[in-house]
Symmetry: C2
Subunit: 441 residues, 2 copies
Amino acid sequence: MDTLRIGLLGCGTVGTGVVRVLSENAEDIRARLGVQVEIARIAVRDGAKPRDKVIDPALLTTNPSDVIDDPAIAIVVELIGGVEPARTLIGEAIARGKHVVTANKALLATRGPELFEAADARGVDIIFEASVGGGIPIIRTLREGLASDRIEEIAAIINGTSNFILTDMDREGADYAAMVRKAQEAGYAEADPTLDVGGSDAAQKLSILMSISFGSRIPWTDIHVEGLDTVTATDLVYAREFGLKCKPIAMARLVGEGLLEARVHPALLPRGSLLAAVDGVFNAIFLRSRGLGPSLFYGRGAGMMPTAVSVVSDVIELGRNLLRGTSGRIPHFAFHDDLLPAMRLRSMDEVQTRYYLRFQVADQPGVLGSIASVLGARGISIAQMVQKEPSGGTDGAPVDVVMVTHRAREGDVRMALKTIDSSVVTRAPTRLLRIEEGFGA
Amino acid sequence: MDTLRIGLLGCGTVGTGVVRVLSENAEDIRARLGVQVEIARIAVRDGAKPRDKVIDPALLTTNPSDVIDDPAIAIVVELIGGVEPARTLIGEAIARGKHVVTANKALLATRGPELFEAADARGVDIIFEASVGGGIPIIRTLREGLASDRIEEIAAIINGTSNFILTDMDREGADYAAMVRKAQEAGYAEADPTLDVGGSDAAQKLSILMSISFGSRIPWTDIHVEGLDTVTATDLVYAREFGLKCKPIAMARLVGEGLLEARVHPALLPRGSLLAAVDGVFNAIFLRSRGLGPSLFYGRGAGMMPTAVSVVSDVIELGRNLLRGTSGRIPHFAFHDDLLPAMRLRSMDEVQTRYYLRFQVADQPGVLGSIASVLGARGISIAQMVQKEPSGGTDGAPVDVVMVTHRAREGDVRMALKTIDSSVVTRAPTRLLRIEEGFGA
């Protein structure tokens, strides 16, 4: 074998990047692998669409079978995205004994276990470095570098669009809707940004990290998710007064034998802490493991070249295994998976953290005392409190009372807020943001 | 083969950690590798020294040949440190066809090329994840994850002792000598901390990173090094007023065809930037590469368990290659090494960056103007300037004039300072710190 032939399914932004990386680094890759990597065929939906000149039009086909059925193609790179037809095509590629590289988080989070099972049965590999954190080699790090360690906690900024929006809301004091428009104009947010800002994208990626770190098979749809719509410019200003900065956090931790806590929501972090310094579209994954202690991996979470570099790294790894005759052995879940208990999720009521609470109440004597009493009765202790001047100045305008609590049980906080929000002095539902610390030294 | 037998040379802190990691994760590692890993023999200098109970006394020997000559031992783990006798023992292990894991930065930085050459000739591997950044999988990341990319810049905090001292000087406003004593009491600094705070340790690690990233064979002793003694508590206070924080930085970048800039010194970074948030004994390595753009890897740079986990990861990688019959192929330099030109270092005179300058001058009219004239004549432009009140209050006490320049050429700055420092109005040598930006988004 003097040429490793691969086929592409899909040739959008990332696909074009893959062609470019393979072409620009052809000599390096040949030196590394001992053989050259050749793109034999590229299946696209629209054969007439204008494409970057790096794409050889002779390679294009609108029939995916031209890739999947070609016996000369050893590795199929799936860059279509979404569940179908990607799932069916990958299934067919596996059935024909081809190895698969994919960046498709939605597919892996939704149908990963069955695809991995099919791959195991057929003795082929599926690898997916680019599915989480674009250019950050987090999957390989979890799989290889931490092979003799146990992950205990993950806290990640893995949706670049959400981070871009929150970074700008924090810098400019602008409101959420304006920043979504800005992100769309900058090309960072989709026309329909729901998956990003709603938290689903991060939950899918978190479930992939959980599968490798904890052997978890918990569906991403079971993960507690809150979107950016829970954050207002006002809360960011108040949070700053407490030395806190808002970040879109996806986190999971081992909290007991076979028991995980997992959640995706905006969270307030201490300013000056490491994750709080991750701004703009950048991603970062913080890990805490038994042996290594805390570690963090930072980089671009998306974009043509970072994602393409990750995809090509996967191609090189599969290629090297093929040449050495050691294919079909890349672990898909935590490698000690069969030694671990089946993982289940802890109820959100049992979460314990510190809370930022903004009460919007009537500006009258005794209100503060009654709020404190309700919290106290649930065992929730107040660490700091600020009562704001009424903004309107008009009689009867509501006033903001902002509190930061000590650690409390979320179930208790929810029950207390239910009581407070149903009170006649409360003018609007209480704003709640979780404060997360300890993602660092 | 149902057992992978390894031998240890040295059994201090890290060695004890390796025994512990192998013992605590025995089942995981067996599941991962398919065979168990057994420590067959441990060579130590002092056989009578009391040791952790995890160490089986029956395995100890004071004769390193018991490890090196044992045909059952496939992998030798060298944890002695220092150049000799480590170099001789590793050379003998290689000659007997054994693979080598080492954490020995001093040895690699000093004699790496010849050891790698011997290993290549004998068809064995030397791997060294723990030699840089203890628990941070940076060597593997450079070698594997960035296989299809080109590194353009490295900026790292890779000496934990120096970072601990600067972090505390910044937090407490204490002076350098007091913080060195504190670091020694905390067990982070050696009795003779010269290697750490003088910058040699960081230069050795940087030269290892440069060899993998750029294929550089530049001796670590050629790298420009400045120690922490160039930093005073006063400068940290002034730097804070400019929004800057001091960190011990080791950096290298490709600045032309075959031309590298490399230096190790305390540098001022913008507060709120990512590397500035790396505090205490923690390490971080920032990379900029052609495809991935900026990335950063953070974690513990030393300590028993982090370092031991990295060593065991190396053992697992070598073990897997042995079992697959694919040993002897781990690249020691940048994999595209033979495609790259031989690297040479740029003169420090050619470095261009922004500078923090503190002039200690007579408190008299015209001094500021004459400083500005000397700088201006060399094309050095002042971005910000603060003139401090004389601290003593006594007539003739010197006054601090603090400036931050725009980008300037270091050779020009040095020439200007030579003129200024020889002036009759200058009371003490001018303090210079480089301001480094752009290690982040």
